[in-house]
């Protein structure tokens, strides 16, 4: 049964370091306070490979190794290996697991079958997004969820509250799992040399359990780059060895280590939302263009359904738009978006230089009524028109 009082359930959300209730803060400055941050089991691996470690959601993570732009291009043209072990894992088991999950998230969990993965937002009654997650159907072993690192504590608390009175068990498993993402057009060739799993028949958003170089893994054909690729969940203790073997195996294919900087520019080029940017407590999946994940007619309803149904047909709604500018100057998150009359009508949610296009790209939140008009931003006194585009910004070759 769900039990919000059980401290065991929040295990994955706790900072490992005592004496700091704010693990993400770094009061001693750029170098002084870093030791208070959490470390993945690949921390020493990153340092040994020249990773530039930064504070990300309270974790020591490599933002880059040599160059964000080069790592980005390596993923688009060959392959990249990312450590995303900071992400959270949660198990949901028990007879009521399916009904619970289907009431919790906006997408239809009843469509899952063992070996299938589903992407879904998880909303509040007001339609705001608590988090977005992946749900794995492990058959008799129940459901396995992958959630954002910065939301682990909030998500667990939210799930516990929503689970009251339901016959489910929610178990935090973040500390047990390491997660690496092998992404890029050469990913399958690299991985196939290390596993007996038949990757050729493992299609997009499906997974198998098997071994990679002798390490037991959930081999998931998913990713956050828009390229073909795999995410490998495995025991944290196995992570350093697996990462070294993957890099050795991948060297001949052009595999490079890639940090969170490239991960962000790759996901934005692909048009994928990032919680805290394109979706958050105030930006619903409807606004974010994720209507395809909101199954208003599914059986039993779900938290947020009524508000999202109203929002869908409201002329007062806001929408997330994606843009390119034709110039190299990056339009930073938080910048004001202006209409033709010069009125501030919205704000930029994400912005970067597309390494593949060589121009600034980004996303912005604007009223639906302004979303077909001329929009612009000001960068240090120069005005730039936002050319609205339907992402992805580049042709994607992900497996289907």
């Amino acid at each position: 049964m769900a039990n919000a009082e059980n401290p065991e359930l929040l295990r994955g959300a706790r900072p490992k370091v005592e004496g700091s209730d704010l693990p993400g803060k770094d009061p001693a400055g750029l170098l002084g306070g870093m030791s208070e941050l959490l470390r993945t089991s690949l921390y020493a691996f990153h340092v040994a490979h020249g990773g530039r470690m930064v504070d990300f959601a309270g974790w020591h993570m490599p933002v880059q190794y040599k160059s964000i732009l080069e790592e980005h291009k390596a993923v688009r043209t060959a392959a990249g290996l990312f450590d995303v072990s900071h992400m959270g894992e949660v198990e949901v088991t028990g007879p009521g697991a399916l009904a619970f999950l289907n009431s919790l998230v906006t997408n239809d969990v009843s469509k899952l079958y063992p070996g299938r993965v589903l992407y879904s937002p998880m909303c509040r009654p007001d339609g705001g997004v608590v988090d977005d997650l992946l749900i794995y159907d492990r058959g008799e072993d129940g459901y396995f969820l992958c959630i954002n690192a910065s939301n682990v504590a909030v998500d667990l608390q939210w799930m516990q509250e929503q689970a009251k009175g339901r016959d489910v068990t929610i178990t935090a498993r973040s500390e047990d799992y390491a997660l690496v993402a092998l992404q890029g057009p050469r990913a399958q060739e690299i991985l196939q040399g290390m596993t007996g799993a038949k990757l050729g028949v493992l299609t997009y958003y499906h997974f198998q359990e098997g071994t990679v170089a002798g390490v037991q893994c959930i081999i998931s054909r998913t990713g956050y780059t828009g390229e073909d690729g795999f995410e490998l969940y495995h025991a944290a203790a196995d992570a350093p060895e697996l990462a070294e073997v993957l890099m050795a195996q991948g060297a001949a294919y052009g595999l490079q280590l890639a940090g969170l900087g490239a991960r962000d520019s790759l996901r934005l080029e692909a048009g994928y939302p990032l919680h805290g940017h394109e979706i958050d407590a105030t930006i619903s999946p409807i606004a974010a263009g994720l209507g395809w994940t909101v199954k208003l007619k599914k059986e039993g309803g779900f938290t947020g359904a009524e508000t999202l149904a109203e929002e869908k047909v409201s002329e007062a709604r806001k929408v997330v738009v994606f843009f390119r500018t034709g110039d190299r100057r990056i339009v930073r998150a938080g910048s004001e978006v202006l209409n033709a009359q010069g009125d501030v009508v919205g704000r930029v949610l994400s912005g970067t230089l597309s390494p593949m296009l060589g121009e600034a790209i980004g996303s912005a939140l604007v009223p639906w009524t302004e979303s077909t008009g001329a929009l612009h931003v000001d960068i240090r006194g120069t005005s730039f028109a936002l050319h609205l585009v339907k992402p992805p910004f580049v042709e994607l070759k992900k497996s289907s």
């Binding site: 530039r52 933002v63 880059q64 160059s67 964000i68 732009l69 900087g261 520019s265 190299r328 100057r329 990056i330 930073r332 970067t352 230089l353 240090r380």
Partner: protein
């Protein structure tokens, strides 16, 4: 460790100044600065003919991470800017003391290179 050539002077704000003779100096940013900024995506230059006060903002260098103002390490007139950076701003990452130079300035009378740090002092500053 970052590279700090001894043939030039450095400002606290990480620009370097190299004497090019005849009262002209070349200006760029240090290896430490380019490394801290990460991948440089855009360099906004002054216009040739602009007159700069020492300490005045003369341009912006943008990386994936952030946009940073550039401060004139000396006062004077801009006589040349490195237009090659327009199409290839990554040159500043690759060769901050050579092809990644930013501008040339004819110093005003009584130029203030004396107020800048030598390589040893700058090395201590950025250690």
């Amino acid at each position: 460790m970052s590279n700090i050539p001894a043939d030039r002077h450095y400002a606290k704000s990480h620009e370097w100044v190299k004497d090019a003779g005849d009262g002209v100096v070349e200006v760029g940013i240090s290896d430490y600065a380019q490394d801290s900024l990460g991948d440089i995506t855009y360099v906004q230059l002054s216009n040739v003919g602009d007159t700069l006060e020492s300490g005045e903002v003369f341009g912006v260098v943008e990386s994936v991470k952030a946009a940073s103002d550039l401060y004139a390490p000396v006062g004077g007139e801009v006589i040349e800017v490195n237009e090659a950076l327009d199409g290839a701003p990554e040159t500043v990452n690759q060769d901050p003391y050579g092809d990644g130079w930013i501008m040339k300035v004819r110093m005003s009378a009584g130029g203030e290179v004396a107020g800048l740090m030598d390589a040893g002092a700058y090395g201590a500053e950025t250690a």
